[in-house]
């Protein structure tokens, strides 16, 4: 449709104008990456996440899908895939909201006030309800590990870094197991 693309262009431009680093994925103006800093006054402060935004065809009547590329520990964000619970955005979405709104208002609010009634990350939700301090600690740990500002440039999509240490050695031991016969 022709007129919504004007809307998309305007929204993208506005987003770029408000000092967010935006990187297009392809020329279709459907998906792009944005670097999003954690809101101050939250345990997410000081970290940066790369966020993948996908605008559906029916945008702006339908809300965009938001996904975190690098890991984040949050009750409403799926840890493995990084996708944000769609319902939470959809409930409050209006065609007059734009992308700047999402990054200036909606996401910070989500990070500051997670919605435990609809958790994608049940463990995080449970931890938050049970022991707030531990939850914040965990959040900070994840931030340290995965969301340092310098990480953003280097982070490839959806690779977890847990297994780095053991890869080489475990291979060799497995082979050993298979190879040698019992004495």
């Amino acid at each position: 449709m022709s007129s919504p693309s004007k809307r998309r262009e305007m929204d993208l431009m506005k987003l770029m104008m408000s000092d967010y680093k935006v990187e297009m994925i392809n020329d279709g103006m459907q998906e792009f990456y944005v670097d999003f800093p954690g809101p101050s006054d939250s345990p997410y402060h000081g970290s940066v996440w790369r966020i993948r935004v996908e605008l559906p065809d029916a945008y702006p009547y339908k809300s965009p899908s938001i996904g975190f590329i690098n890991k984040i520990y949050h009750p409403n964000v799926d840890e493995m895939s990084g996708s944000v619970c769609l319902d939470v955005i959809n409930q409050t979405w209006s065609p007059m909201f734009d992308l700047v709104n999402v990054f200036e208002v909606f996401l910070p609010q989500l990070l500051l006030y997670p919605n435990p009634s609809d958790p994608l990350n049940g463990e995080a939700a449970a931890l938050m309800m049970r022991d707030r301090a531990a939850y914040e600690q965990r959040v900070k740990e994840y931030c340290e590990k995965y969301a340092k500002p310098e990480d953003i440039g280097a982070v490839p999509e959806e690779k977890s870094s847990d297994e780095e240490l053991s890869d080489n050695e475990s291979d060799s031991s497995d082979e050993q197991v298979a190879g040698k016969a019992d004495p």
Binding site: P95, M96, G122, A126, E163, V177, P183
Partner: protein, 688 residues
């Protein structure tokens, strides 16, 4: 005049006289070039008499005359012609009347001369005469007298062009227009024509040319006063009839509002032949929101503008002055005080005031303002805040909450929500507004089919929110439930139990589904059953079986009894139907995670944790399986304490929990296996 009625009239006449004197200062009547009593008075005066008119005084009278005469007529120009014809007829009468009424030859002579003061009386007599002629219709005469007064007092229809025009013609009657040479007339005519053309080109649609009457040009110009930053209008709300010229006590209630557009000032003009060389145009100013005295003030100003440049065209100056300076001249440039319609005003007869009372005037002004705003909106381009395209105002839809969006966007928005079924979100798209979209508008936006769907969804939603609504098992109409689980359908009069949806069974418990199932299944085999009934019961069987199946796996929400089965996630369930949180393990309604903290129910069932761990760390599963398989031999990891099984004979153990290698024999962490195992160190493969 000895007769009472006429005396009364005469008093008024005098009164009028004095009023005219006041006006006369500003509105100078040109002395006739030759003192002939022709022109308007032609009809009246008999042919012979030379005029010995006392010029000044008598000139005033004709106005009276014309007023009185013309008052007999309804305010249409056609009738006016009739009047003029009659005037001719009346010319005969005076002789007759005077002989009978006056009896004095002097008077007779004098009154025959149109410009005598007695002409006033003549015309009165004329009036009376005609009244008598008509059979002495008292009422009519009085009506006439009253009507004459009424021209000043009661606010007339400002829009009544004919009325105003006839007034102008009255003015004309009262003026002795000078005779002009052919040349002069031609020049004037030319100038007038040019001026009118100029006016049309400057003011465009705001100039209304009226039909030429007697070959004279006449028109009405609408002067729009606009205040882009708004102008305040204040109305004093008090019960007094008197015109208040200043704000009195603070006890008076006043009402103020702002507008950007004011109803126009109408300047109606009749151009006489001696304009612009000798006479100004006859004009009347009509304003809906000014009282007579203010308008009279404006009239005076117009007079003085004329006087400043006698002999030149003046209409443009007039209109420009009205447009730009009239408000400030009245002291109204910041705020307009709405006057009241006073009953005893002494105003210029060229002032036509539309004021009546605040409860009429205020809505009038406001609605004009709104109309103009709307017109302005419709003709201009606006940007829709959803799609950022520009359209003319006519392409926009405005909701009752005053937010407006382009038709296309509203249509797409509505369509999407109807398709998705999310009609509860079908409200004003504005982020904070949430205003309702009126159904009539929806009908226009959506097609018939979609509108029907919307209606049924709305109905459904409303009914669902009402807890005591049950659907009749036979005809599916919604019914209200009474106490005791009973409802009666208003359509088919079926009285049923809301729990089991069978016929009402007072005192007996509902049939259990199992029993029902058995009975139905039995009946399937019966030969007596008609095909249709058999089919229906077959459906019922299927339904019961489905419910059975559902209930096998699923749990029911403790508040709305909706069957919910858990496919993944934790045991804290939220019912999609009613929003109630409940525990899947024990089916209790809960609130938050506290329930899982204390004891009985786990938040995550074991298999879910297992799955999650599998996903997170495949080695864990492997490790756990191995631990099970080789349970006999295993060793806790020196690093994290996790028990790991020794696999086969291999003493080199890999801890799945912390990913460290250690030796089964010496229980130490092994960093380089080649170093650790060898002839000198531990043996890597041993049995046991």
């Amino acid at each position: 005049m000895r007769k009472a009625g006429r005396t009364g009239v005469r008093q008024d006449q005098r009164h009028h006289h004095s009023r005219l004197n006041e006006i006369d200062e500003n509105w100078v009547l040109r002395p006739s070039v030759d003192q002939e009593p022709n022109l308007i008075q032609t009809d009246l005066s008999p042919p012979s008499s030379p005029s010995t008119s006392s010029a000044t005084e008598s000139r005033i009278e004709p106005i009276t005359v014309s007023l009185l005469v013309s008052n007999r007529t309804p305010r249409t120009r056609q009738n006016f012609k009739w009047v003029s014809k009659n005037r001719r007829a009346h010319a005969v009468k005076p002789k007759f009347v005077k002989r009978s009424e006056l009896g004095s030859p002097n008077n007779e002579v004098g009154s025959l001369n149109s410009l005598d003061s007695d002409i006033g009386s003549l015309s009165i007599e004329q009036k009376v005469n005609t009244k008598q002629e008509k059979g002495g219709d008292e009422e009519e005469g009085e009506g006439r007298e009253r009507g004459w007064r009424e021209t000043i007092e009661v606010s007339e229809s400002v829009e009544d062009v004919d009325g105003i025009f006839s007034r102008l013609e009255k003015f004309q009657l009262g003026v002795e227009e000078p005779e002009l040479s052919e040349e002069q007339l031609r020049i004037n005519d030319q100038l007038q024509g040019d001026e009118l053309l100029a006016m049309e080109s400057i003011y465009g649609d705001n100039v209304f040319i009226l039909d030429r009457h007697d070959g004279l040009r006449s028109f009405q110009i609408h002067t729009h006063i606009e205040a882009p930053s708004g102008i305040a209008i204040t109305a004093m709300l008090n019960s007094s009839d008197e015109l208040q010229t200043k704000i009195d006590s603070s006890d008076d209630f006043s009402y103020s509002f702002r507008v950007e557009y004011l109803p126009p000032i109408l300047l109606t003009c009749l151009l006489p032949k001696p304009y612009p060389s000798h006479l100004p145009p006859y004009f009347a100013i009509s304003v809906r929101w000014l009282d007579s005295s203010k308008i009279s003030n404006l009239c005076s100003k117009l007079d003085s503008i004329w006087r400043e440049q006698l002999g030149q065209e003046v209409i443009y100056q007039w209109v420009e002055w009205l447009q730009s300076s009239s408000l400030s001249h009245l002291g109204f440039d910041k705020e307009i005080m709405l006057g009241t319609c006073g009953k005893r005003l002494t105003g210029d007869r060229r002032a036509v005031s539309g004021i009546s009372s605040p409860d009429v005037d205020i809505p009038l002004i406001k609605s004009y303002n709104d109309e103009r705003h709307l017109e302005n909106f419709l003709t201009n381009l606006h940007e829709c805040c959803i799609c950022f395209s520009e359209y003319a105002g006519t392409e926009f839809i405005r909701l009752p909450c005053q937010h407006f969006f382009c038709c296309k966007c509203m249509r797409t928005y509505s369509d999407m929500h109807i398709k998705e079924g999310t009609i509860s979100k079908l409200q004003c798209p504005d982020t904070k507004c949430g205003g309702m979209v009126p159904p009539a508008l929806l009908k226009r936006l959506l097609g018939d089919e979609e509108y029907e769907r919307w209606e049924s969804l709305m109905l459904q939603k409303t009914l669902d929110s009402m807890s005591d609504v049950a659907y009749c098992p036979r005809c599916e109409t919604p019914c209200i439930e009474d106490e005791d689980q009973h409802a009666q359908c208003s359509k088919c009069l079926f009285s049923f139990c809301t729990l089991c949806r069978e016929r009402r069974h007072v005192g007996i418990a509902c049939m259990t589904p199992e029993l029902k199932l058995l009975i139905l299944q039995e009946r399937q085999n019966s030969s007596q059953l008609k095909e249709e009934q058999k089919h229906r019961e077959r459906e019922m069987i299927n339904e019961i079986l489905s419910v059975k199946e559902i209930l096998r796996d699923a749990k029911q929400c403790p508040s709305c009894k909706m069957a919910i089965s858990r496919t993944e996630g934790c045991n804290k369930m939220v019912c999609d139907n009613c929003g109630q949180y409940f525990c899947y393990r024990c089916n209790q309604a809960i609130d938050g995670y506290d329930h899982f903290r204390s004891g009985t129910c786990d938040l995550f069932p074991q298999e879910v944790i297992q799955e999650w761990e599998e996903r997170i760390n495949p080695r864990q599963v492997l490790g756990q399986i191995q631990a099970e398989l080789f349970a006999a031999h295993g060793q806790a990891c020196p690093n994290c304490g996790q028990f790991n099984a020794k696999i086969g004979n291999n003493n080199h153990i890999f801890c799945w929990a912390c990913q460290v290698h250690y030796c089964y024999l010496c229980k130490k962490i092994v960093r380089r296996s080649s170093q650790h195992y060898g002839p000198r160190g531990c043996k890597q493969h041993t049995v046991g």
